[in-house]
């Protein structure tokens, strides 16, 4: 999946490109925020074009779009002339992908692609729809043969199986059920302007099309989680390799601070991040993007985190507002990385109090059936993977996130697992399979 950011495009163009990428080529492209994008597509004819590029990073490829007779005006080595066509857009994206090092299989174009490639996306309809280059066979990827997400070259390093274990050192470990040590308390000062400005730059253009789904924090794809199943979890050594301590990670810290300051404003300050919990609408204001926040979840937290005493309500300009439960879910997913929170007994029958909001948090593989199973019939977490025929780590990441939200209902080691509901008749099961396949 290639992530494209649309910057400064007018609404019609942005919508058209989005539809082109996400409907016609949804298996390969997603329009995302600036931080997650590999390719930035910027309208150079807009006066704010330069400002849009202010936060671009070195590894991001900039694709300029504009009106010019020069095929590569000025500094714009990768430049698309208006009016855009499907073919020129795909060719430019192919070129950009080569630059970011993403490998894409070369296959014959699909019937839809062939029919579409000569169409001018943005110019008024013209009788001559054929492009001069229609005789040339361009190659487009076919959905069925596209690489699995784990093959992405920009894979986050924390999913790398070769990396050493990131288990919390003993000094951080907190036994299940015990509170973690008190945090240092800092005096109240306003959230730093520099961080606000940075976030404003980072999030510029995030809501290109302005749908409510985006405004509410739309997720764009399933988060890859390494599938790992080896070893007997009754062996403490094996179990340790499948667990992590939320008390030493950001998810546990946020949960603890939010619980301690229930109903009041709270502020948690880290080395370069500030989180402010607002009880009025049960949201958290973050001074950094989700991508930046994720970086704090990859390993146990070090020193430098403080709870601010009696914080003042910050100026929200440039701050990212996210539902508290979504923030907890996301940070737990990122911290867990397929491991089980050490506050959860993997051998205790566990039910679910309520479903989380799964349209807003990070979605992980098989998250829906895992939650559906636990909601329908309490199970031991160690049994869920077998009953669903999925990887143990895919279960643990979801269970850890549910634990972060306080949605698990442990029935204790002596609890009895409920039988999985009788499946629908074969005919209906077949339909469910096909419909699920169609909806994914």
């Amino acid at each position: 999946m290639v992530h494209v950011w649309l910057g400064g495009l007018d609404d019609t163009t942005a919508r058209s490109v989005r539809v082109f990428l996400e409907v016609r080529h949804s298996d390969h492209f997603a329009v995302t925020g600036l931080d997650e994008a590999e390719v930035l597509m910027v309208d150079l004819d807009r006066p704010d074009a330069a400002a849009s590029l202010g936060a671009a990073r070195d590894e991001q490829v900039v694709l300029g779009v504009g009106f010019s007779d020069d095929p590569a005006p000025g500094e714009w080595r990768r430049y698309l002339q208006k009016p855009l066509t499907g073919e020129s857009l795909m060719a430019a994206l192919d070129d950009a992908l080569t630059l970011v090092g993403t490998r894409r299989p070369v296959v014959e174009p699909s019937r839809l692609d062939r029919g579409h490639r000569a169409r001018d996306l943005f110019a008024p309809p013209r009788p001559q729809a054929e492009s001069p280059s229609t005789g040339e066979r361009r190659s487009y990827p076919a959905p069925r043969t596209y690489e699995a997400p784990q093959a992405r070259t920009r894979e986050a390093p924390r999913w790398d199986a070769e990396r050493p274990s990131r288990q919390a050192p003993a000094a951080f470990a907190t036994p299940a059920g015990r509170p973690s040590p008190a945090l240092p308390v800092a005096p109240a000062v306003p959230v730093g302007r520099s961080s606000v400005r940075r976030l404003a730059e980072e999030s510029a253009g995030h809501h290109t099309t302005g749908t409510a789904a985006e405004a509410l924090g739309r997720r764009t794809e399933v988060e890859p989680v390494e599938a790992r199943d080896g070893g007997d979890l009754r062996d403490p050594g094996v179990l340790a390799s499948y667990t992590y301590s939320p008390a030493a990670h950001l998810d546990g810290l946020v949960r603890k601070v939010a619980a301690q300051h229930h109903g009041t404003l709270w502020e948690l300050r880290g080395p370069t991040v500030t989180l402010v919990g607002d009880p009025l609408d049960d949201t958290v204001l973050a001074s950094v993007s989700a991508t930046r926040l994720r970086q704090y979840c990859g390993s146990p937290l070090g020193d430098g985190w403080q709870v601010v005493a009696r914080p003042r309500r910050p100026d929200t300009t440039g701050l990212r507002r996210v539902q508290r439960e979504v923030l907890l879910w996301d940070t737990a997913v990122w911290s867990s990385a397929g491991r089980l929170a050490d506050t959860v007994d993997p051998f205790a029958v566990t039910g679910l109090r309520a479903w989380p909001d799964m349209t807003r948090g990070v979605l992980t593989p098989s998250a829906l059936p895992i939650v559906a199973l636990l909601a329908a019939c309490p199970q031991r977490p160690v049994d869920v993977a077998e009953k669903l025929g999925i990887s143990r780590t895919h279960v643990f990441v979801v269970v850890s996130a549910l634990e972060a939200l306080g949605l698990l209902e442990p029935l204790g080691a002596a609890g009895v697992a409920t039988e999985v509901p009788v499946p629908p008749r074969a005919e209906t099961r077949g339909l469910l399979r096909r419909l699920l396949g169609r909806l994914r």
Partner: protein
């Protein structure tokens, strides 16, 4: 009008303006048939057109296999349609407009109307327009449903967003069979 029981279908219901028509339009493979007309009653303050019979969309699974999506009219005077539509349905999607004065009560109004159906079939709840009015929070719906003995998916959704509507439908299907594997 009678409906064959062996038709696979999913029902969308909820108050006027909650996004039933939009959700069906978003997820349908072909342009759904709409039966909207200009609103003439109290509805007109909320939307220019309203559904007087039902919305109908399809998700195509193969050459001949389709799943029908039915959106039921929101106004109470069309209650008679509900009985007809719910026959043979896989499950129920209730969309609730969070910007209405008492959306939690609205949810229960529709759950009450479908009580006999949701005793035997799954229900999922989509809360729309939380960007317009975030209050009441999602937790208010969850608590209210728990008091009713329901532990069902409750998601905030944008009815215009394919991913949101798709997730809502997928959750409905997994409630029917958590062990279902996508083909």
């Amino acid at each position: 009008m009678t409906m064959a029981v062996d038709h696979y279908k999913v029902l969308f219901t909820g108050p006027v303006g909650a996004g039933k028509t939009t959700a069906i339009r978003t997820i349908s493979d072909s342009l759904p048939m709409m039966t909207d007309v200009a609103a003439t009653d109290a509805t007109k303050d909320r939307k220019s057109h309203t559904t007087v019979a039902m919305d109908f969309g399809v998700i195509k699974l193969g050459r001949s296999e389709v799943v029908h999506l039915y959106g039921t009219p929101g106004q109470e005077r069309f209650d008679f349609m509900w009985e007809i539509l719910r026959e043979g349905a896989l499950g129920l999607v209730v969309l609730v407009d969070n910007a209405l004065p008492d959306p939690v009560a609205d949810l229960h109004h529709f759950l009450d109307a479908y009580q006999s159906f949701i005793d035997t079939a799954p229900v999922v709840v989509g809360i729309t327009r939380t960007d317009v009015r975030p209050d009441p929070p999602r937790s208010a719906y969850v608590s209210s449903l728990a008091a009713r003995g329901l532990c069902c998916p409750v998601f905030t959704v944008d009815a215009r967003d394919h991913a949101d509507v798709s997730l809502l439908l997928q959750s409905l299907l997994y409630c029917l069979d958590p062990q279902a594997e996508p083909a």
